[in-house]
């Protein structure tokens, strides 16, 4: 019996020893020294971020950046950043998606970096991206990547349905939907995924809707979710749903991936990063895909929406906001850093110079050597859309409302009216000033 304990105790001692060693190792990497270079911590959920930080550290002897890759997922990452601010453990710099910037600002988590020269790099970025990081004269981050929208479609299926050129307008898209559905009862031109809030918001964005705006003088929010532009989009999809011309399968689901692969979902209005999803989900369909600009509401126009995209922000509580802003600016204007971002990580850059990198302008073999990124680069995204100060609640309510409208076959426009009321109520409950 004694030997049982001896063995266990010995094992435990070894494990504790390992723990101590590993802790010591970890402590060596943590920013605790008071002298020497300024220590900055950088959080991101992109893969492979350490290489850029290493280059920065080599060229900036007075600043040392530790890049940490954090778990992504909106329910993990943002609560973590906010609680780290509250506990005084926040990173100095962090990747924040555009859609979460107002939420983070209303939680007091972001530093206005206009005072640290952020505006001097403004001209290097796409204006639609820059509009996402500013509020009035304040700048809450440097834009990293953007998600302009285009139409991914299956050339082979469109051809089989007798469609010679991709739909230039939404009216044509509806006509093509009929042709594609005539290929078979399982064939749909696209899916209308009721839970995909970001997707539907980007379509609203394209139609000129601005769901939120802020009166900076009075710090008051205005909510216009059920505007005429939004209702136009809702009525359009309502019609396709009523006629059974679009599938309602959830995007990114197993069935959806299989349908893209088989061609029973023949197109996908999506952001530039959708190419990674298409090439991975439907690997065997190489050569059958193409990209066209988004179908337009007005023939001859060139307006798109934006789905996704993120910025590098300086986080409240940092002891070195100036150096943190310097890193953010360097990270997204330095050619070496941008090259790694575009080539290794896969950004579609918000930086205009980076959009002429060979990775962006070269033909894509999966899409029969079409230069698809150019189509996204030319997509004209209105700089009018503003995200709400409590995105998590808005998206939860929106998902519920749209889902129940689709499931119960009640009007989508009614879901927008309901969402409008809910969101105003939510903002009131969170003590956020709302203008009626």
């Amino acid at each position: 019996m004694r030997s049982w304990y001896t063995r266990v105790s010995l094992g435990l001692a070894i494990l504790l020893g390992v723990a101590t060693i590993l802790t010591t190792l970890a402590a060596c990497g943590s920013p605790s020294q008071s002298s020497g270079p300024v220590q900055l911590t950088f959080w991101s959920f992109n893969q492979q971020i350490t290489e850029q930080a290493a280059i920065f550290n080599r060229t900036h002897p007075n600043i040392h950046v530790t890049a940490l890759k954090e778990p992504s997922g909106p329910n993990q990452y943002y609560p973590k950043v906010i609680s780290s601010v509250n506990a005084g453990n926040a990173p100095d710099v962090a990747l924040i998606e555009y859609q979460y910037i107002p939420t983070m600002v209303s939680n007091g988590a972001l530093v206005d970096i206009s005072q640290y020269g952020a505006n001097s790099v403004k001209s290097q970025f796409a204006s639609s991206a820059w509009s996402q990081v500013t509020r009035g004269s304040a700048v809450y981050g440097i834009p990293q990547d953007t998600g302009p929208m285009g139409l991914f479609y299956r050339k082979d299926i469109f051809q089989r349905a007798g469609i010679s050129s991709p739909p230039a307008t939404w009216a044509e898209f509806a006509q093509d939907a009929v042709k594609i559905h005539s290929l078979g009862p399982n064939y749909y031109i696209t899916a209308f995924p009721p839970s995909s809030t970001g997707w539907l918001q980007s379509l609203m964005w394209q139609a000129g809707a601005t769901w939120f705006s802020i009166d900076t003088a009075h710090n008051a929010w205005k909510v216009s979710i059920n505007s005429a532009a939004s209702k136009q989009v809702a009525a359009y999809w309502q019609d396709l749903l009523n006629r059974g011309l679009v599938s309602t399968v959830a995007d990114f689901s197993n069935d959806w991936g299989a349908a893209l692969d088989k061609g029973t979902i023949a197109s996908w209005p999506s952001a530039v990063w959708g190419q990674g999803v298409v090439t991975s989900d439907a690997q065997d369909t190489s050569g059958k895909w193409a990209v066209s600009p988004m179908p337009q509401w007005t023939a001859g126009a060139n307006v798109s929406g934006m789905w996704g995209g993120s910025a590098i922000s300086v986080i409240s509580g940092t002891k070195h906001p100036k150096e943190a802003a310097e890193f953010a600016e360097w990270y997204l204007t330095n050619t070496q850093s941008l090259t790694i971002g575009v080539k290794e990580i896969g950004w579609f850059p918000a930086n205009l110079a980076a959009r002429s990198f060979p990775e962006v302008t070269s033909p894509n073999p999966f899409f029969s050597n079409q230069v698809i990124d150019t189509i996204f680069a030319n997509a004209n995204v209105p700089a009018t859309w503003t995200w709400p100060p409590d995105l998590t609640t808005v998206n939860k309510d929106m998902g519920d409302d749209v889902n129940s409208a689709v499931a119960n076959k009640t009007p989508l426009s009614g879901a927008l009216d309901q969402l409008q009321q809910q969101v105003i109520q939510d903002l009131h409950n969170n003590n956020i000033n709302v203008e009626s």
């Binding site: 494990l15 992109n46 893969q47 954090e70 973590k80 609680s83 506990a87 439907a282 896969g346």
Partner: protein, 303 residues
Amino acid sequence: MATTPLDLDQRSRREPENQRLVGARLLSTKNIAAYIFLLALTVYFLTPLYWLAISATKNNTDLFSSFGLWFAHFNLWQNLYETFTYGNGEYVRWIINTALYAVVGGFLSMLISVMAGYALAKYNFPGRSLVFTLVLGAVLVPPTTLALPTYLLMSKVHLTNTYWAVLLPALLSPVGVYLARVYATAAAPDDILDAARVDGAGEFRIFWQVALPLLRPGLITIFLFQFVAIWNNFFLPLVVLSDPTLFPINLGLATWNFDPASHELLFNLIVTGSLISVLPLIVMFLVLQRYWRAGLAFGSVTG
């Protein structure tokens, strides 16, 4: 708490001659219904695991486009290779971390629980029932609700982002203390302890050399409980750790999640990594199930 087992217990004591009848009763309608119910439960519990095992053999395309419950192109070796080598082998680091958190945390937590439980069961001291009531109350508090307060405490003493931030909170297990008290009451008879006292053994020696061996099945149950709890804990490490080299597996896998800005999709690695991460739990349960079952039955009858 455990009326049915007690019932069965009395019946079998009263009618030992009926034991052969039990075999005949196996085929009664009641039993067939029970078997079907158990079979359904087995399918219910094993299907996700089956899906995980099948999916770990697929590449990204097949993950999304092939039937979920059957094989497509066999890509397991490639998946395993990529899982262990992606990002300079960070997955291996996460396995070591998880093992460290779960084994060290589980063992120390077991030790603390059994000491506390033994004291509550065997010593009479003022406030004993109050302490026990508090422990019982603490059983009802979901650990997730304590994660943020723990985080704030840890940052006050500058322990966030260290191994201790995960290990220290893992040491306390109210369920473990409760179980240990129940086992100690039943499995370490006062007579034996008194006999040891008469022989001149000190209290600590009695605990260590007389009581502990008697409590072994219970100890293993407590260890397994806490081991699994630490292994699966996501929220606490999520808030207290930010350095990926300290992450446990589940947190590490979350950093491989879909990120629109990256063109790499790592779903096949996440699935393969998840499969690997449940294997130690399965092995642990199979190896220790002898003790585990003994411990469980013990608790249910005497509770």
